[in-house]
């Protein structure tokens, strides 16, 4: 199993969710986060005083899938979340040791 962590632009969330559902992803965890990458923030003005917004709002997706599906999920997120503008986000893939469905006690691939 693989854990896919993706940080994407918030307005792309719904589109990505639909695309992932259509390739067979059956669950995901979503968190509103702030962070910075190469976009590294921008400046705003409040009452005449300029200030730096160092952390940009993003949405973090966490999706656990079977090994065979990971590549397709990464591909789907990458194509759907892409705007060709700075700040589109990043995707990470990690190995997952085990999984367990609380209600039934099913484990690993059966649990996701």
């Amino acid at each position: 199993m693989k854990l896919i962590i993706a940080a994407i632009k918030p307005f792309k969330l719904e589109e990505v969710r639909e695309a992932l559902t259509s390739v067979g992803v059956r669950g995901m965890m979503v968190t509103e986060i702030k962070g910075f990458g190469s976009q590294s923030g921008h400046t705003e003005i409040y009452r005449g005083a300029e200030y730096a917004v160092n952390f940009v709002p993003k949405v973090k997706l966490e999706i656990v899938v079977a090994d065979g599906m990971a590549e397709q999920v990464v591909e789907t997120i990458a194509t759907t979340a892409k705007t060709d503008k700075i700040g589109d986000g990043k995707i990470f893939v990690l190995d997952v040791e085990s999984a367990l469905r609380v209600r039934t006690g099913e484990t690993n691939d059966d649990a996701i």
Partner: protein
């Protein structure tokens, strides 16, 4: 604003009804009887008074929206505390100090009055007949007291926003008592009580660009200087750290409430509604007051777009209020176009004055000093543009006299309070927020930190 200067206005109201026989009552469509004039004048004060009262709600919401969420409970506590204290202080001391009716402690009506009478306000008896009225030819004492009290409280409301997020509750409230019992009524007596600015200087300040708004602004400036800026507001390298307000919807509501209240503030200051002329004037004042606010808001809207590439709502709100303050010294004589422009200049002043104060490291949380002090000075000078009775020295010298008096006395009071009890919370309390550290109560207890 005072019984004496009204006489030219109300005098016309009194002369006209004499053509009507008292027993026959008024002739339909001609003039009102003395009773009717008394009733309508009193009604104007009462309606105007409760509109100005509602400005206390406007200030509370504006300030509640522009402070950070950790200081909202404290800001609301200060607002209801200061209003209530102002009500008592004005009753016990302020009213007669402001309206001595010739019984000056220092000075006289003819030579110029400087210090009014001491004693609590006394209303007319219950259920009076016309011959028992204090001033049958004009209006009831109760309506006048009620109306004037609200102006006094407004002055105190101006101070609380500028000093928010770092001043201790009790020293602030003690200052409020001194401001509303002594500082405001004394300077207001100089103009509206028939004192020396009125009789000797020919000063024109219809509803108080100077007498109310600049007074609040000067007291706030003195306080902000003694108190110092909020921790972290000004970095060592001179940069300004914005501290965005917690709720701009509340700040906007507060601005609209103040805008509404201002119709009572300026319209009520016509001080008479018993003749066709007075009612037409009140109507002009309502319309001019409204358009000046719009002018101020639009000026700030356009200017922040040009200067900052994005509109700054808080500046637009301040711009509307600055427009209102600007038209307050003369809301009657300008045309709609002139009133719009006078208000618009107020909006421009705010957009430049807010960063200017930051440059001077004077931390004014809600922009009270630009709105009430700077636009107040502008409004008092703008009387010259449309009222031929105004003179440059007649406006400028009273601005300086009132400014010096209020600023110096306020400065001394703030310094004394600082020496006796300290006026600022400690560093930890300020960073944690005044709500929990001073009051142990959050405004939004179900919000998570972050």
């Amino acid at each position: 604003m005072n019984l004496r200067t009204l006489i030219p206005v109300a005098g016309a109201a009194l002369v006209l009804p004499t053509v009507v026989l008292a027993q026959d009552g008024p002739v339909a469509g001609v003039n009102a009887s003395t009773d009717t004039v008394f009733i309508f004048n009193s009604l104007l004060f009462l309606v105007g008074g409760f509109l100005v009262f509602w400005m206390a709600a406007g200030f509370a919401m504006l300030e509640g929206g522009l402070v950070r969420s950790k200081n909202v409970t404290m800001q609301m506590t200060k607002n209801i505390g200061l209003f209530s204290l102002a009500a008592i202080a004005y009753y016990l001391i302020g009213y007669n100090l402001m309206y001595p009716l010739g019984s000056w402690s220092i000075g006289s009506d003819e030579a110029g009055g400087y210090l009014g009478a001491f004693g609590p306000a006394v209303l007319e008896a219950v259920g009076i007949t016309s011959d028992a009225a204090d001033d049958y030819g004009y209006a009831s004492t109760g309506s006048d007291f009620f109306f004037q009290l609200m102006f006094c409280a407004t002055t105190a409301s101006i101070v609380s926003g500028a000093l928010a997020e770092r001043i201790k509750l009790w020293p602030f409230l003690i200052f409020t008592i001194i401001l509303t019992a002594l500082i405001y009524p004394i300077q207001a007596s100089w103009k509206w009580g028939g004192g020396f600015l009125d009789s000797q200087r020919g000063f024109l300040d219809f509803a108080g660009s100077t007498g109310v708004h600049s007074v609040g602004g000067w007291a706030a400036l003195a306080g902000a200087l003694i108190l110092g800026p909020r921790i972290g507001k000004y970095a060592a390298d001179g940069r300004v750290t914005p501290m965005p307000g917690s709720n701009l919807a509340l700040a906007t509501l507060g601005t609209f409430i103040l805008w509404l209240g201002w119709f009572g503030f300026n319209g009520g200051s016509q001080l008479a509604m018993g003749t066709v002329g007075d009612v037409a004037d009140v109507s002009r004042i309502f319309a001019n007051t409204n358009t000046a606010a719009a002018g101020g808001a639009i000026a700030a809207l356009v200017l922040t777009q040009i200067l900052y590439k994005k509109v700054d709502l808080t500046m637009v709100l301040n711009g509307a209020l600055a427009g209102l303050v600007s038209i307050t010294a003369e809301p009657l004589t300008p045309s709609l176009g002139a009133a719009t422009l006078i208000g618009a200049v107020g909006g421009v002043i705010v957009v430049f004055a807010v960063p200017f104060l930051d440059k001077m490291k004077i931390d004014d949380v809600v922009g009270a000093i630009p709105v009430h002090l700077f636009a107040g000075i502008w409004g008092t000078l703008a009387v010259l543009l449309t009222n031929p009775d105004a003179t440059l020295t007649g406006q400028l010298v009273p601005i300086i006299i009132v400014g010096l008096f209020v600023f110096v006395v306020s400065l001394v009071v703030w310094i004394v309070l600082k020496g006796i009890m300290g006026i600022r919370v400690d560093e930890e309390a300020e960073i944690n927020g005044l709500d929990m550290s001073e009051l142990g109560m959050e405004a939004y207890p179900e919000f998570s930190k972050g």
